[in-house]
């Protein structure tokens, strides 16, 4: 019995010491982060910017002074995420020189959870000339959705021509957040997608992506296609997204074309559509034929409370 108790005590003390070390490390992180942002990062960025903006320096191997590699990698990631149309070859060289070893080192089969997802996000966002193996997941966990999605993003970044195919064959039902990240990737020029093909596709993920692209880039030419989708698509969620996008774009909507189709949808979805329409300035009366007695009185209250009062 004493042996068991002593073993327990030793193991517990060792655990307490290791967690204590993690605690100290985390406490110092704020200080190190401030020091990085105020002292090192401006220097690193100046060197990087000179490389990216000066044609003469692009073929010269850039040397950044000795700096925390992890922080430098995070800064390169921020640069990739917040800019577009940068010289991918120069950026690749920088990533390979200063960033990818961290990603490679952390993408082993033993890296799990949200940290793995974060590394995959880095791989998807930073151009690199090296071939970095991405080990496929074997077990489903709480972070698995994120890992699946960022594996998809990393695959799309590596082979942009297959982006449409990869989205179509994706295992997960893409959420609006994930679709907006794909749109951001498109905006940065990492992949190319034709919204017309996406809107005509029968796959749910592709259609939702197409609608998101139309909304993000305010493509007015697509209004007719969205109108057709809203009037005929069997998926209520896609209809809702198409209608809301039309409302956000201020397009003319012909309710009579959609009355029968939307009238059969869930009441909550119909009210949601009407709410978005009112917030975008459409009068509730215009949608009255669509909603019958389901909430148009109550939604009219929303419209009234957005009007000025003469007091």
């Amino acid at each position: 019995m004493n042996t068991a108790v002593e073993t327990y005590a030793i193991v517990t003390i060792l655990l307490a010491l290791s967690i204590g070390a993690l605690l100290v490390d985390r406490s110092m992180r704020a200080f190190r982060s401030r020091r990085w942002h105020c002292v090192h990062e401006p220097v690193a960025l100046r060197i990087v910017m000179r490389t990216l903006t000066s044609p003469r320096l692009r073929n010269i191997a850039v040397r950044i002074p000795r700096m925390p590699r992890r922080r430098l990698c995070d800064t390169l990631l921020s640069l990739s995420l917040t800019t577009y149309n940068i010289d991918r070859r120069a950026m690749s060289a920088l990533t390979d020189a200063y960033g990818s070893e961290r990603i490679i080192g952390r993408l082993s089969p033993f890296t799990t959870g949200y940290r793995r997802a974060e590394r995959l996000l880095m791989l998807a966002s930073m151009p690199t000339g090296r071939r970095i193996p991405v080990h496929r997941l074997r077990h489903w966990s709480a972070a698995s959705r994120y890992i699946h999605f960022y594996t998809l993003m990393a695959d799309m970044a590596r082979t942009p021509v297959l982006a449409e195919y990869l989205i179509e064959t994706c295992d997960i039902r893409l959420s609006p957040s994930e679709i907006s990240q794909i749109t951001a990737m498109l905006h940065r020029g990492s992949i190319t997608l034709d919204y017309r093909r996406l809107l005509r596709s029968s796959d749910r993920n592709l259609r939702m992506t197409g609608i998101a692209i139309v909304r993000h880039f305010s493509i007015e030419e697509a209004c007719d296609m969205l109108h057709d989708i809203a009037a005929s698509d069997p998926d209520a969620e896609i209809c809702r997204e198409a209608l809301i996008t039309l409302c956000a774009a201020g397009c003319t909507i012909d309710p009579s074309l959609m009355a029968e189709h939307i009238g059969g949808m869930d009441a909550a979805i119909r009210r949601s559509i009407c709410r978005h329409a009112i917030l975008n300035g459409y009068p509730p009366a215009a949608f009255a034929p669509l909603f019958g007695d389901h909430g148009d009185d109550r939604l009219a209250a929303l419209a009234e409370s957005n009007k000025y009062t003469i007091a």
């Binding site: 942002h37 990062e41 401006p42 960025l45 100046r46 990087v48 910017m49 000179r50 990216l52 903006t53 995070d74 800064t75 921020s78 640069l79 995420l81 917040t82 800019t83 577009y84 149309n85 940068i86 951001a184 905006h187 940065r188």
Partner: protein, 117 residues
């Protein structure tokens, strides 16, 4: 912080004097004490409550200081409102570094010729 450093480093070589990054609260204090050719406000996170942002931009506009605004998301209405308040350029992330540099260069050289205040 990274975002501000990225924007500052992108335009650092265009300015004769020091390019500085500061917080939203620090802007007004610096403006009272020093002369600025251009102020660029950049954020991928919450910059300020919007009414305070409008007032700050209005004040800078009255001082004759050009203001560029770079935000994560910008609706058409908000962009119109900000331009009415006195913002000279509204941009959203992701930004094109070459375009940003060109606009800053045009503003600085055009502003120097026209004279300020």
């Amino acid at each position: 912080m990274s975002t501000c450093n990225i924007v500052a480093s992108a335009v650092a070589d265009l300015a004769d004097e020091t390019v500085r990054t500061t917080s939203m609260q620090g802007v007004m204090q610096h403006v009272e004490n020093e002369d600025f050719s251009l102020i660029i406000m950049a954020s991928t996170r919450s910059l300020a409550t919007e009414s305070r942002l409008d007032r700050t931009i209005g004040h800078l506009h009255r001082c004759g200081i050009p203001v560029f605004l770079i935000l994560a998301r910008l609706s058409e209405q908000r962009a119109t409102r900000l331009l009415q308040c006195g913002v000279d350029q509204c941009m959203t992330f992701p930004i094109n570094l070459h375009r940003l540099r060109r606009k800053v260069h045009e503003q600085i050289t055009g502003g120097n010729k026209a004279g300020r205040r």
